[in-house]
Symmetry: C2
Subunit: 338 residues, 2 copies
């Protein structure tokens, strides 16, 4: 167990280090506290022994360890959101605009969040797996070229170009689309493929299958797009201003990571309901070993969850980011629930 003073010392070290990015010495703390540097040195030695602090070299000041950050986030910060009213009002403003569709809203929210935090933000769009088919259309464009449209109950639209085999009968095609609309209306995207195959086997659309295998494939392809996880990334270059990324090698690693689709791996495992904080090497991805990721799910409708996350250096302003992220997630959840 830590003494009260040790907790204070740890808290101040984290906050001081977050501010300055320099190892914190006992003299610095003795100015902030009513104790001499020697006293604080003793506490620091104890904290180091317990694994909350580390030294960069034998005669340097102390730096929080990953364990130290965790203790800070989970015990020392507690529930107290440092909700400076200013930030929140910007979020409120954003969501007043009713006419944003889901994707726009998410994108703008992420831009705002990365501006407010000066870190990189990621949103894993709610996989549309649980949204439902509202309407399917095939719009002829030019000769054999058509656009297939699928619209969901959440106002999301996917379109796909199709080139029909020459000499396709237009009326027949219309009938096919009608059938699809009948079959698939209000079916969750996740079950579309299943449903189509079921109906094929139960004769409902047997003639359709005979008619054209290619169209069915294209159909399934359009639905697959809904289920693909889309993500939004904002403020990548914010990270470059963090002193931990003054080394080009690290920058490369980081930027490469952002450019790959591995981002999904970073965020996707957060299935829990609440906020998850992953500090340093807890992120299994090596490019993230000096970073912390704070993520929190939001829910557009029953079961339709997405995740928003902030990526920063382990030396992150947890104090500021956590309440901000919670507030934003709550509002995004509300957005489509009314």
């Amino acid at each position: 167990m830590l003494t009260d003073r040790q907790k204070i010392v740890l808290k101040l070290i984290v906050e001081e280090f977050v501010k300055t990015a320099e190892p914190v010495g006992s003299r610095t703390l003795s100015k902030l506290l009513e104790y001499s540097s020697a006293t604080i040195r003793n506490d620091m030695a104890d904290l180091e022994e317990d694994g909350f602090l580390e030294k960069t070299h034998s005669s340097s000041g102390r730096v929080p360890s990953e364990k130290g950050y965790h203790y800070y986030v989970e015990v020392l910060l507690g529930e107290n959101g440092d909700e400076s009213a200013l930030d929140m009002s910007l979020i409120d403003d954003l969501f007043k605009n009713q006419d944003l569709d889901r994707d726009e809203a998410i994108e703008q929210a992420m831009n705002l969040l990365s501006q407010l935090t000066n870190y990189t933000t990621i949103a894993l769009g709610p996989s549309a797996r649980n949204s439902r088919v509202k309407k399917i259309e095939l719009v002829p464009i030019y000769e054999e070229m058509c656009v297939l449209l699928v619209i969901t109950n959440l106002g999301h639209v996917e379109s796909k170009n199709i080139t029909l085999p020459k000499g396709t009968n237009t009326d027949e095609l219309k009938r096919v689309i009608e059938i699809f609309n009948e079959i698939l209306y209000d079916v969750p995207i996740s079950q579309v493929s299943e449903k189509i195959h079921y109906d094929i086997n139960h004769d409902k659309i047997k003639d359709l299958l005979d008619y054209n295998q290619k169209i069915i494939e294209t159909f399934l392809d359009a639905f697959t797009r809904f289920t693909q996880s889309k993500y939004y990334l904002s403020g990548q270059s914010n990270m470059l201003y963090q002193p931990e990324f003054s080394d080009v090698e690290r920058v490369r690693e980081l930027m490469n990571f952002f450019e790959q689709n591995d981002i999904l791996k970073l965020v996707e495992h957060s299935e829990s309901t609440g906020m998850t904080v992953r500090i340093g090497r807890e992120n299994e991805i090596s490019a993230m070993k000096n970073c912390s990721v704070i993520m929190i799910p939001y829910e557009v409708r029953e079961g339709e969850k997405g995740t928003i996350a902030v990526v920063g250096p382990t030396r992150m302003e947890y104090q500021k980011v956590i309440p901000l992220l919670k507030y934003l997630a709550a509002h995004m959840s509300k957005l489509y629930k009314k």
Copy 2:
């Protein structure tokens, strides 16, 4: 005028410097040529005097100047495309897939191009200004929520969520959409706004205007999206592996630039038909002062031009990039012309 040997010396210096990123000394060249280092030094001194070469410091080897690169690209390279068959086959493969819509095709082409070149690639999507309205639809989703769809003759779709004022009459709304379809069918996107205003003033849709101002605004907004230049960026992090970006300050500048929408400024002025090569400070953007941009237009249909570009350090493999870019642009142009 340059002597033949001076041309050879300049060519070799450019190519050597492109390969190694180190200033090229006379001894290096004397190994590649049948002349002593002293002879070459004299040629180098002349070339420097004429502004084709520069020194990094008084006793360093030579580095091509911007003028030197230009001479290399325009005179020394000539028309000879160094078309190594391997690369081109990958491009051919890409375009065999018929069912890519315009955006997908562009995106994939850019990814491929950045892989092949190891530089950053930009595509300015063909501004849809000249594509024509094919169909407009309003799909009701949930209570007052609707999705407005606009489909063009090139298979491009824009969608926008609309929340209708409460108690909107559905039948009347359908009629509005019908009118819009009548008025706007086959109208180029660029003229939609004009056309609507014209028709309002000439009574054709007077009742419509009275009916709901908000819907018209939303309409115009959806069309504005088409005219917004969209761009695709690929291989940003490739630049980080160039030795000229071993300095974090430059990396910041570059990445910041890529993250802003200033990219449009970089590319949009290329109205000429052919290829444009901008070297170093010819790019008016300060973040690009150490970069070269090679851009080339492609044309989807009459007047519907986009631009693809490769951004690399001034020390770029012009020899390889130029034929690759030409080939790709030609194929993208063909794609929608059949």
